[in-house]
């Protein structure tokens, strides 16, 4: 293989995994936008998407399309449960407490997953087979196209949702000013719940998409969450295009780093990027710099 095909290969891998990170980042963003909470359990939604899909499609034998819908529905419900039973009951929500609560949720979900599925990785049949497509000498898994497609669908749907639909606009209003939003009659609690549900659904989609490529096991959640957050910060906390851009960029950094520098430190690349970003430019690539005017502590 020529150098260019190797590069192209890494590029494609990067975009593929980047799409997953982008979807996690988008999920983070939705909840953050409405509640100012970073949901540490976001990665678990991805994990659940993959494993529950395995259950329905492989375990029970339901047709993939129905399994898909059932999985999304299940994970969405779980997302709503997280909001209802872990976030809302907290009486004096401080940032610290909320962080801890979402961490606790992620632990609970992970623990239950281990109990139900064990520690082994699971596989899903690829949606359209495993025959690689050859483009410019590089082999592309059709599943990768599906994943990138999922991202595209997510982005399109969300853009339309937040710009055009009433519920979407209501959610945005909550993000800007929950007090004002409730005064205008918006049920803020409902919006929060919706945001959790929506994030869970997107996460689940990502999980279903990636499992045929990278398998899925019970403890994948934490790493995905951290990397998804890194992607979000890279792109700019609070920004949708930022989340997508950040995710793809992070995927590329990781893929190229693992390919050209060191595969053992693969996970570290994303983390180091996150760390450096937080210190140097927490507003990210597309974030809001005006906030930085007033001295941060």
């Amino acid at each position: 293989m020529s150098e260019y095909t190797i590069l192209l290969q890494f590029f494609i891998t990067g975009i593929t995994i980047g799409s997953i990170y982008a979807m996690v980042a988008v999920g983070f963003n939705i909840i953050y936008n409405v509640t100012d909470v970073i949901n540490f359990a976001q990665g678990e939604f991805v994990m659940l998407g993959g494993l529950i899909m395995v259950f329905f499609q492989v375990g029970v034998g339901i047709h993939p399309v129905f399994a898909f819908l059932l999985t999304i529905a299940s994970v969405t419900t779980i997302g709503i449960i997280v909001d209802r039973f872990a976030i809302r009951p907290i009486k004096k929500p401080s940032v610290l407490l909320l962080i801890i609560a979402t961490i606790a949720c992620s632990m609970l979900i992970k623990g239950i997953a281990m109990y139900l599925w064990g520690k082994n990785p699971y596989d899903l049949p690829a949606f359209s087979g495993r025959e690689p497509l050859i483009m410019f000498g590089a082999a592309i898994q059709p599943q990768a196209i599906w994943v990138i497609g999922f991202l595209a669908v997510t982005v399109t749907f969300l853009t339309l949702f937040f710009e055009r639909s009433i519920i979407g606009k209501a959610m945005k209003a909550c993000a800007d000013n929950p007090a004002a939003a409730s005064l205008v009659g918006i049920n803020v609690r409902m919006m929060v719940m919706l945001s959790f549900g929506l994030s869970a659904a997107i996460g689940a989609m990502a999980g279903i998409g990636i499992t045929p490529i990278a398998l899925m096991e019970y403890d994948r959640g934490a790493m995905l969450a951290v990397k998804g957050f890194a992607a979000l910060i890279l792109g700019g906390l609070g920004s949708f295009p930022g989340a997508v851009l950040g995710g793809l960029a992070l995927g590329l950094i990781e893929s190229l780093g693992a390919g050209y520098l060191s595969s053992g430190y693969k996970d570290a690349f994303a983390l180091i990027v996150l760390f450096v970003l937080l210190l140097v430019r927490p507003s990210g690539l597309l974030g809001n710099q005006a906030i930085a005017k007033i001295k941060k502590f």
Binding site: A290, K293, I294, K295
Partner: protein, 262 residues
């Protein structure tokens, strides 16, 4: 041409503060004499708090100079501002809720609590001596503002008026030359406001310089030596209370006269 004028303790010159394209402050210039009470008034959103934040180091102006006692305040970190001699109170009272009233004032004494890490860590006799000293100092300040009897109560348990007094005592504890008060009378009734006004006058008597942001016009007119009027981020008038009361631009800005109260 130099603008040395060392007899002015605070000099603000051509200050701009811009937030995302909008000018919160534009070309603001004024000076404050030592031991004067200078009030800053203006309708809501005029930029008074922004001005205060710029002087106390919370915001860095985009243009202009702020000079205090001859020092150019050039993007100093906030704690440095305190060490130079400027202190402040906050519009939303920022007392330390879970600490006692006395402890709040002791925090104000922070830079004058001369114990080293080792002294504290090992609880050496020096630390005990210093702690005793600053407690006495803090009690004096609490007596000055008139809430000494509540020294050991949790700060959050006090009514708003007294919380503001705690903030003032704490600010004085930092041994400032300039005290910036951000709407000290906000949310207070007549008698509490009177109390605050009295304290401010007492402070002036003891040679402190006061920069006062206020909406309570009666208090402002009563105690100020000079008043600065802002509107839409710009200075529209500066002068004695009498001059300001009869200034047409000021009356216009407030839409209805200078007797308006917050």
């Amino acid at each position: 041409m130099s603008d040395f004028r060392p007899w002015m303790i605070l000099k603000v010159k051509d200050v701009d503060v811009i937030f995302g394209g909008l000018a919160a402050l534009k070309d603001v210039s004024f000076e404050v004499r030592p031991a004067h009470i200078k009030s800053v008034i203006g309708p809501n959103g005029a930029g008074k708090s922004t001005l205060l934040n710029a002087i106390t180091g919370f915001i860095n102006p985009d243009k202009g100079k702020i000079t205090f006692k001859g020092h150019l305040l050039d993007n100093f970190p906030i704690h440095r501002i305190s060490q130079i001699g400027i202190t402040r109170t906050f519009q939303q009272v920022e007392i330390f809720n879970k600490m006692t009233v006395l402890e709040n004032v002791l925090v104000g004494r922070h830079n004058y609590t001369f114990t080293s890490f080792l002294d504290c860590f090992l609880k050496l006799p020096k630390m005990r001596r210093v702690e005793k000293l600053i407690q006495e100092e803090a009690m004096e300040l609490l007596e000055f503002v008139g809430i000494a009897e509540k020294a050991n109560q949790e700060a959050s348990a006090l009514p708003l008026g007294e919380q503001k007094l705690v903030e003032i005592a704490r600010a004085i504890a930092t041994q400032p030359d300039l005290i910036c008060l951000d709407e000290p009378a906000a949310g207070l009734n007549e008698s509490d406001t009177q109390r605050v006004a009295e304290i401010i006058k007492q402070l002036q008597y003891r040679n402190y310089t006061i920069l006062l942001i206020e909406h309570d016009m009666k208090m402002v007119m009563d105690i100020s030596d000079e008043i600065l009027v802002l509107n839409y981020g710009q200075k529209i008038a500066e002068g004695t209370p009498q001059e300001i009361q009869s200034n047409e631009r000021v009356i216009e800005a407030y839409l209805g006269g200078t007797t308006a109260n917050a």
